[in-house]
Structure formats: C-alpha cells, structure tokens
Amino acid sequence: MSTIREYVIFKVAGEHYGIDIGNVENIEKPFAITRVPYTDEYIIGVVNLRGNIIPVIDLRKRFGIEKKEFDEETRIIIVSVNELNIGMVVDSSSEVLQLDRENVDAAPSISNNSTINFVKEIGKSDGRIIMLIDLKKVLGVEEMVELE
C-alpha cells in the first residue's frame, strides 16, 4: 500500500489546511448564497449547484475567526462526507499536495482551542505546516449521527 496521500490545500486566515482529496467533489467560485434561518451561525446558507441544493458553511466562523468579505480568491470547496454534500467557504484554494505518511504527525493534544480540535493531523511540506482537518468534526456530521 502506498504511503503517499493526496490532499487539497486551502487557506483560512493565513494558515494552511488540508483535506483528503477523496472527500472533495469540486471547487467553485462563490455565487449566490441563500441564508437559512434557525441554523448554527457557521452555516451561512444554501446554494444551487447544478440543480442540487447544497448547504454551505463558513470555515472562518466555524474556526472562530473574524469574518472577511468574499473576494477574488474566495472559494467554496464542495466536500462529500457520509453521502452528504456540503460546501465550505475558504479564503483561497489552489493546490493539491502529495504527502508521505512520514511527513504526517498526529495533532498535538493540548487544546482548549476550538480550531485545534478540528485538526486531526499535521502535515509538513517544504517547511510549511499544513493542518489536516477532521471533516466530520468540522461539519458537525459526527454530532448528527449520534443524535440519530
């Protein structure tokens, strides 16, 4: 089995994050998002992606980072977890990176920090630190399953 895995890398507030490429459906430029009331604050609404209604969350809000207006760089990464398609708004995303198992460490378990809770592992590449996030936790899908 190969120890190399591919990750889609994106940036939120200057930090690099990565998610397994297998979870990524596509990456879109931002378009009309419809707000949905009575949802968690980080769920900013729904979009129409080729006839399908897809919920979108803002990773800045999810990570407790201050809001930023959408710009040229802003992207919506459509991910697929547990057969759910969900969009994540990130500051930018333009890179796919291969990481060898050797360059991936477990996340430090110091946290009371909410961001760190979402980080599953830490990847290193060319001196950069890439936080590999736990999608289920970020999306709140885990809690949902438990509820059921």
Partner: protein, 697 residues
Amino acid sequence: MDMSQYLDMFIEESKEHLQHMNSILLDLENSPDDLNLLNEIFRIAHTIKGMSGTMGFTKVANLTHEMENVLHLVRNREIEVTEGIIDILFECFDGLEEYINNLVDTGAEGDRDTTDLVNRLKSIVEHKAVVSTDAVETATVVEEAVEEVVEATNDDVFMIDVNEGTLEVIKKAGQEGLIPLKIKVVLHAESMLKAARAFIVFNTLEEYGDILKSYPITEEIEDEKFDNSFELIFVSKLDAATTKNEIEKISEIELAIVEEIHVDGSVSVAEEEPEVEDVEVVDTSVEEKETIVPELPKPVKKEAKEDPKQPKAKTTAKTVRVDIERLDTLMNLVSELIIIKTRLEDTDQSGVQNSHDAIEYLERITTSLHDAVMKVRMVPVERVFNRFPRMVRDLSKELGKGIKLFMSGEETEVDRTVIDEIADPLIHLIRNSIDHGIESPEARTSKGKDETGSVYLRAYPDGNTVCIEVEDNGNGIDEKIIAAKAIENGIVSDSEVEMMNHKELINLLFRPGFSTAEKITDLSGRGVGLDVVKTKIESLNGTVEVDSVLGDGSKFTIRLPLTLAIIQALMVNLGEEKYALPLNNIKEITTIQSSAISLVQNQEVVLYRNKTLPIIRLNEVLDVEYREEQAQKDEMIVVVVRKGDQEAGIVVDSLIGQQEIVIKSLGKYLTGIKVIAGATILGNGSVALIIDPNQLF
C-alpha cells in the same frame, strides 16, 4: 437470467394476493357458508403456493400448501367453517405477510417458525374424513386433465429449427463425444411465473452442458413471451433419457420431450415418447422469427449456484403499478413537447407573436405533463385502508368491545410517497378511537347507545387536498380531563387553561408529552402521543384537526396535499431575500394600516372582517436584516393564511407574484429547521426558501 429480477414481481403480486386474502377472510367471517369466498381464498393460496415454489421460498410454499389442504376440505363441506378455522387462517395470513415483509427487507423469508401452524393445519386435515378427499382429489385431477388435453394436442411438434450455424456447433460437439439433444419443455398449464420456471430449467441444464439455442429466443422467454412450452438445443454428455429425467425433476414441469439430433439431420427419440412428428414440419413464418445466430454457450454459471435463501443486503425498490392509459397520456405529452420544441426553434426567424403563442402552448403542455406525472404517482388509499378491518376485528375481540368499522372512499388517490407514511398515524388514531373513544358495551347500553360502537374511516378529495377522517361514536373527549392532565404533566399552567376555549383545550392532545391513558394497554398509552401523529402529518405538509362532542364521539381529520413535488406558491420579498408561501395555505391578500394593530397579551392582532386576526411579522420570525429606509411603513401588506379553521396574517414587504415551484429538500444536513418547508430554485438559478405557514402559529 437472474432470479432477483423476479423478486420484485413476486413481492408485488404476493402483496396484492395477500390483501385480497385479508379482505376475503373478513368477509368469510361474516358469511362462513359462502362457497364463492372459499373458492376464492383457495385460489389465492394456490397461486401463492405456485409462485413461492417457483421462487424457492419453501416456507411460504409449505404454509400455503397446508392451507390449501384445509381449504380443500372446507370447500367440500367436510369441515365446517368454525371460528377456530378462521382464526387459524388469519394466523396463516399473518405468517405469510411476515414472510413477504421479510423478503422486502432482506431478500429472505426470515426465521419465523410456522411449523406449529403447519402441524395444526395438518391435524385438522387428519382428523376429518380422509376417505372422501381422495375421491375429490381425483375429480379435480380429471378436471385439470381435461383442460390440459386441449393444449396438449400439439405438445410433440417441434418448432425449433436446426440451422446451418447450429449444425456446425453440433457437429463439433459430436466429435468431442457430446450428445446433441433437442428438448421440448412443457410447463403445467397453471404454472406461475413461467419465465422463472424456464430459468430454472436453463440453470439445471447448464450444469451439465451448453444450451445452443432456444425457441422462442432467450429474451422472449425471459419476458414470458411463450405459452406453456419452449424448446432448446442442448449439448452435453447426458443422453436423452437422463436429460429428460433431470428436467422432469423440476416441479411444475408437465413433461419434457427429448430427442437426440443426429448430425445427418435425423432424430432419435427418448424411448418412452410416443410417435413424434417429423422435424421438417416447421412453419415458414416461424423460420423468419428464428433468424438468430446460434447462441454461444454461456460460460457464466455463478448466479445459478447462489443460494436464494441467503439474506441479501439489497432491499427492494418502491414500485408503482401504473395504468397503461396513464403512461400513454404521458407519452403523448412528451411528443407534444418535442413538437413545440421544434416550433420554438423555428420562431427564431418568424417574429414575436409566434413565439408568444408557442410559449403559451408550452405552458399548457408542461401543466398537463405535471398533471399526468402526478397521476402516475397516485395510488388508492385502499392500500392502507385494507389492513384496518382486520385490526379492528382483533382489537374488538381483545378488548371485548363490539366495534364496527365503516370505510368509505377507499378509491381516493394519494401520492405514492404519502401512502407509506400515513399508515402509522392512521393506526394510531383508530387505536385511540377504539381504546379511549368507544365505551365498554355496558357503559354504552346504560347511556342508551347501541351496544356496538362504530368507527368511521373516510377518505375524500377536497380541492387540492385529500381528507382522511377517523370518527367514532364513543364518549368524545372530555376537556376537563384534558386540562387536568395537561396541567399535571406541566404542559400548561392553571391560568393558561382558564383562557382557553373548547377547541384550544382539545388541541392540547397534540402537545408533546401529553398522554391521557389512565391505564397502560398495549394499544395506546405507550408514551407515543398524538404529537407524533401531528409531526408525521405535518412533515407531509398536511394538517390534523380534532373535533369532539362529549358523550357523542370525536372526529380526527387529516388533510394532505395532493402532490408533494410541485406546488403553486406566492413569491414574496423580505428585505433583500425572497421567500415562497404555498398557495393552498393562503386565504387572501390584503393591506392593513399599521395604526390598526393593537397588542393583546403580547400578540399583535388586528380586527379584520369582524374577527381578530393575529399578526405575524415574517421578517422578525426569520430574522431578516434590513437597511434603514425599509424599516417601518404605514401600510402593510398582509397575507392571510389559514390552518384548519385558524387564521393569521403574515406581514411581508412586497409581493412578487404567483409561480409554480418545484420543492427541493434542504437535505439531511439541515433537517428539522422550523418554519422552513424546503427550498426551490428560481429562474435566475438562485435559491429561495419555502415557508411552512402551519408552523408560524
């Protein structure tokens, strides 16, 4: 061929037969001497036995076989139809139903053990006059035989043609020491699922050798496009007699005619077969159909080895049986769509007027198309209703209350997705009526009521909705008990109760955490209250109302929308956002001066048409952001919506207009968002949310 393709068909048909059996059993209970009913039920048991035998579902087959034996005696008046017999038949029905349900869920019959039942059936048969059964048996056999003779006349004529290509393969096989055979398989006249039976023959034979060719061709056999027989050319190491034996071992095979093909074209017959007509007697018209090249030996045999009883994870798909006329309508509409498409393409050149016409025409077609598709999805509520007579019968016995169920409007149609969902709420309501509503016989007589209570189950279409009512002539709902209970359970406070009118008090029944059952029976009072019914119905965009007169009975009315997927909606603006309000909830649209609003108990109300109308500011409910200048206006646009006989006025910023919208779900990630019923995609590609006015008040 694969057996699983018949599973859906088998299930669908068995369910229909079981439904039928259920209603006949109930009729039989009332008129045990009706020979027609007995014959019918016998026929059903026989049919199911045949089908399940074919599919290899031995438990179902065994059970129905024993049922058949008992029914046979009953039919011949050797056993009297007693309550015991009917009860045991009902038990059989339950067993069969469970098997079939297991098949739906898991693809296997499940573990329910009906040996006891089978033994009881057997003992019934044994204890009764066995002597005469033989006589009857032979009588029926003779009858059947007569039928068969008619068809059997041309049994031994072969239609299959050994053409050049096949001959080549046969020659080759001959050199390898294989024996080429010509086989004609004749199935029982009343055999069910003939295609599946043929499949078994194919499988059996393929274990020994190769089938080179069949008549009719394999596809037609799969589609059951043959009468009672089909023919094969088969090469294997088996000789004619052994092959004949192998085939005839399969059940429901009337006979197999097996002949050896000699390469020179002549034929030798498996010994016991009487004179066989010459192969040359082949109709030319048949030859025309037979233009296929010899089929290559099928290398795949894996499927055949699959144990049909092995539980498969696969569950069966939801299906709808559709009247062919409805499909024709659909087809016609689609052709019209194609015509209008070409016309639209042409109008590019020929000006505005034409394109207006074309668009109008297109609109008409899409509306009709929507209508037609909707109708295809409709199924009669009978599918749900037919289980209730049995349920009421059992409950009535169990509780010692005499109860009659009157049903009407079984033919009323609702959407397929609704039909499965309304069963549970209805069961709940009917149980409630019987358990809580209908009094004991003594109590009824002392009140001067008919000793037997009545429960009415009615369905009828009402405009764009379908109504289903569950009414009983029992004791009705005592609002005092309701109030006391609600206070006790902490749902409302004393002072709140005092403010409530009769209607509001009764509606407390639907609050979560409310249960009046004073003693727990296994029917109701299991902690699952009417709030579950309400939630379920509301999730289908429907409403539930209750009406009750103490002492006279109560009536629950369920109102469901005819269609779920496409609705007419009023589009409105709120700030920068657009929302859709389903048109069927809207009573009217009006304007109201903001000065006319007064505050009653923290609720804004306005006097409108001499009624107090609660005012709901949708922007506040939905937390819509406003720019400064939009804030307060003197004249407000109010959409009056109704829920049951309650009304409320919803304040919106401005109206966009009426539009046909396609309802899309928000998906699993965003479930249970209150007030929002779903989303729809607008012409410009953006998303608008659909408001569920029922949840606003």
